[in-house]
């Protein structure tokens, strides 16, 4: 198991950093085994560490308090993108942030942080007129400027600088990742990132099914794209030592809660995300970052008061039982069942199975059939349409019954992760 868990905190960062419920939020992030938290700077609404250091520093402290390291993404500057002075200025500003971080937190800590250059350079909405050639010049200047300050602390480690944070809805999104690793000096690259949401369309709009049930079923059927994309990127990165990062994901990208909340913050969203995690594991991704951690809008797995959604519970099931470094297997399940399965074997013989049911009807599965005959699971933890948005706990009798979409874990351990009801 090489997938590390992460979260974006790009939307609701003030509450995450300094809000009245911040400590509850950090505790919840720790429950999710969150290794990396992605922040956006130099973007509208994001902190500006050059103009106002303290809010940014508070945000970094919050990430550390959550038990994670930050991925600081330097989002953008305005056009023209081919102005050498503007590129130089951007690189200098980014480097100055790194310098100040080193000064405040020390090189030994900061060398493990991640630094992203730009957000959605391939999107006309975000970066109109930016070509890959522009981006390459910006990336190289910025990465060199950052590396100049990080290098003394790296001690042979690869710098964790990366891009291009490609918007996965664009037709030639993979070009950006391929060109990123083939046209830029790999000594300047520690990770390659790409973003993927299930859809951006409202039901019935832009060719999407007009029937809500069909739309939802289709969305769940397309989760396998996370695996094919992760595999495609893994092929591009093979032998380079560069991390494969799914830097933003969720079921639905529409910015209006009335459209996307039902897909992102419900039991449906829980099943979608857990299934995406299994597919990312299968595809060879190194790091995933749900968009987002906290949010008053349609994306967060909790709000600014640390009130959680079913997606939080699903991630806790996954992160608590399928851990980085575990041995994992993906048993082939019978076609048409709408089930994804991963079996993890960890320390002291711990064996856990994450089961995701992607269909909206009732179904019962024999665990030994799903896992190729393995038995001996003692505890069942489950969230589905029948558990009222919470995780239900019980003894595993060898079968798992789902009331519609859902996520379950059966495990050989009797102890339950802290905080789980």
């Amino acid at each position: 198991m090489r997938l590390r868990y992460g979260l974006n905190e790009t939307v609701n960062w003030p509450r995450f950093a300094t809000g009245p419920h911040r400590e509850e939020i950090w505790a919840r992030f720790r429950e999710l085994n969150t290794r990396v938290v992605r922040l956006l700077v130099f973007d509208k609404g994001g902190p500006d560490p050059v103009e106002a250091w303290e809010p940014f520093a508070a945000c970094i402290e919050a990430v550390r308090s959550a038990g994670a390291v930050p991925m600081v993404t330097f989002a953008k500057f305005g056009p023209p993108y081919d102005d050498p002075a503007a590129v130089c200025d951007f690189a200098d500003r980014c480097a100055s942030v790194v310098v100040r971080c080193i000064r405040q937190w020390g090189g030994a800590a900061v060398r493990d942080w991640y630094w992203g250059v730009w957000q959605h350079p391939n999107s006309e909405w975000v970066s109109a007129g930016l070509t890959f050639d522009h981006y390459r010049r910006i990336y190289e200047a910025t990465a060199r400027a950052i590396l100049g300050h990080l290098a003394p602390f790296l001690e042979g480690r690869r710098p964790r600088i990366g891009g291009p944070a490609a918007d996965g809805f664009q037709p030639f999104w993979a070009d950006w990742v391929w060109r990123f690793v083939n046209e830029i000096d790999n000594d300047l690259i520690g990770f390659a990132s790409w973003h993927q949401f299930g859809d951006w369309r409202e039901v019935g709009a832009w060719g999407a099914p007009a029937d809500e049930h069909i739309f939802r079923t289709l969305l769940l059927a397309r989760v396998s794209e996370y695996e094919s994309r992760a595999r495609a990127v893994a092929r591009m990165l093979r032998g380079r030592g560069i991390l494969n990062v799914c830097g933003e994901l969720n079921a639905h990208a529409h910015h209006e809660p009335r459209v996307s909340r039902a897909y992102n913050q419900t039991v449906f969203g829980a099943a979608y995300y857990a299934s995406a995690l299994i597919h990312l594991m299968r595809g060879g991704a190194d790091l995933e970052m749900l968009k987002s951690g906290t949010d008053e809008g349609p994306y967060g797995l909790m709000d600014g008061a640390a009130r959680t959604t079913p997606v939080f519970e699903a991630k806790r099931l996954c992160a608590g039982h399928i851990c980085f470094g575990d041995g994992v297997q993906f048993p082939e399940v019978r076609a048409g069942q709408g089930v994804d399965v991963v079996v993890a074997t960890g320390e002291r013989g711990r064996r856990s199975v994450l089961i995701v049911h992607r269909k909206e009807e009732q179904a019962t599965f024999a665990v030994d059939e799903l896992t190729g005959g393995q038995t001996g699971y003692r505890l069942l933890l489950k969230i589905d349409g029948g558990t009222d948005g919470r995780v239900a706990k019980g003894r595993c009798d060898g079968r798992v019954r789902f009331e519609g979409c859902g996520v379950a874990v059966v495990t050989s351990e009797l102890a339950v992760a802290k905080g789980m009801s």
């Binding site: 030639f172 070009d175 060719g207 999407a208 099914p209 289709l218 059927a221 794209e225 591009m236 076609a335």
Partner: protein, 430 residues
């Protein structure tokens, strides 16, 4: 069975579309058909109501020659009812189209008898593309599909003997970011009694060097395209997951490297040594993914920038590469991929074993640079292969035969076969 071997289920095919006249009626049709027969295609996809092909009602004789040309190359036709030019939502127009399609099936049964039960029928071409298929909504397409399939089945059912209907769609254009919607909805929203195959299309790119964000450097653009050959397997597996072991055929009904809107541009990609290596690499990926049939776009074409033969039956490098593949890696063979599940970045290979003791390997060199590969690193069984057949920059666009050595060298992009089969197992020379 040797560890890692699977049965090859891929059946080979071609499209014959815009240049159908040269294929079926032109002065060099005999030579064209002979060369295409050497590719051992099982299926040739042909078009009605598009691409300037004959009207099966007003020009039955020409249509029959088009079909007969397919039979002459040893294949069965996949007849694509490409589109109609009346309002898509007009029930009268739809009824007219569906009846017309049914009439074609009836006419074929009258002309060719019960052999027609082994033919394939496809409803519409690229309905999700405004340029090609008119940009239908799925709901409209579903109505068209169901009406046509019912009319086709009315005539076909009595000869099928209970088999799944050899009818399918949606022949989706693969650049559409939501291409999967169409396949999923086709499988899940149409009565399964009305289809037996799912058809999808894929080209690696449509952009010239430097166009719309493509690399301006030709070598970089070629390398980027070549890296996408493995995406064909990913896409095929996505479709296979949706089919879920239902027995419905997974068909890549149209593919090539490049589909630029100007023939001269796409010809540089498709009809070059790069195109040959890309095409062979795609075939290996489709084999890996368990695709049931592939249909290269296209067999014959005159100045279209796609075909493996021109109007005078002159072959392109991809013709030779495909022939190397189809003659030595045959449906039903036991195949193994020594380069792994995804291929290597520089080399892809398949080793095939026939029930007759034939062992052959197809090697594809995926890079522009020279390279040499030790045969022993690929598969021990290849030590028994005596013949090496190869096309690359050093063979001047032809297949050259030589004895096998310990290594296989490539001068840039290239395709090679090592085999223990005697030379006379091929019906004609290279």
């Amino acid at each position: 069975m040797i560890e890692g071997e699977t049965r090859l289920r891929l059946r080979y095919g071609l499209n014959e579309a815009d240049s159908w006249w040269h294929f079926a009626r032109g002065p060099h049709r005999g030579r064209i058909q002979e060369r295409l027969r050497e590719l051992e295609p099982d299926i040739v996809r042909i078009f009605l109501d598009d691409k300037g092909t004959p009207d099966p009602v007003a020009e039955w004789e020409a249509f029959a020659e088009y079909v007969q040309a397919v039979l002459n190359v040893g294949a069965v036709p996949m007849i694509t009812f490409a589109k109609f030019r009346r309002p898509f939502d007009d029930p009268r127009a739809l009824r007219w189209f569906a009846e017309r399609c049914g009439d074609v099936v009836w006419g074929c049964l009258e002309e060719w008898g019960e052999a027609v039960r082994d033919w394939y029928w496809v409803v519409w071409n690229e309905p999700n593309s405004t340029w090609i298929g008119g940009g239908l909504s799925f709901e409209t397409y579903r109505r068209v599909y169901e009406a046509v399939a019912e009319c086709v089945l009315r005539w076909l059912e009595p000869v099928l003997g209970g088999r799944r209907p050899p009818i399918g769609g949606p022949s989706i254009e693969g650049f559409d970011p939501f291409w999967m919607d169409w396949v999923w909805r086709f499988i899940n929203e149409i009565d399964p009694a009305l289809f037996g195959l799912v058809n999808w299309h894929r080209y690696a790119d449509w952009r010239e060097h430097g166009e719309k964000g493509a690399p301006a450097d030709g070598a970089a653009h070629h390398a980027l395209l070549m890296a996408q050959a493995a995406d064909y397997a990913d896409r095929a597996r996505d479709v296979a997951r949706m089919l879920g072991g239902s027995g419905v055929l997974n068909v890549c009904g149209e593919w090539n490297a490049h589909s630029h809107y100007l023939p001269a541009v796409r010809a540089r990609f498709n009809q070059s040594l790069f195109g040959a290596a890309f095409g062979a690499a795609v075939l290996l990926q489709l084999m890996r993914a368990g695709v049931d049939a592939e249909m290269l776009w296209t067999g014959t074409d005159v100045d279209c920038g796609y075909g493996v033969l021109d109007g005078e039956a002159r072959p392109t490098p991809l013709y030779h590469a495909k022939k190397l593949c189809t003659r030595h890696i045959r449906p039903g063979d036991w195949v193994r991929f020594p380069t792994g599940e995804d291929s290597r970045a520089d080399l892809d290979a398949v080793v095939a074993r026939g029930e007759d003791g034939r062992t052959s390997a197809l090697l594809v060199h995926l890079r522009q640079e020279k390279a040499a590969y030790a045969v022993s690193e690929l598969d021990d069984r290849l030590a028994a292969c005596r013949r090496l057949l190869k096309i690359d920059a050093g063979t001047v666009g032809r297949v050259v035969e030589a004895p096998c050595g310990d290594t296989v060298t490539f001068e840039g992009y290239g395709v090679a076969v090592m085999t223990n089969a005697p030379a006379d197992s091929c019906r004609t020379g290279w």
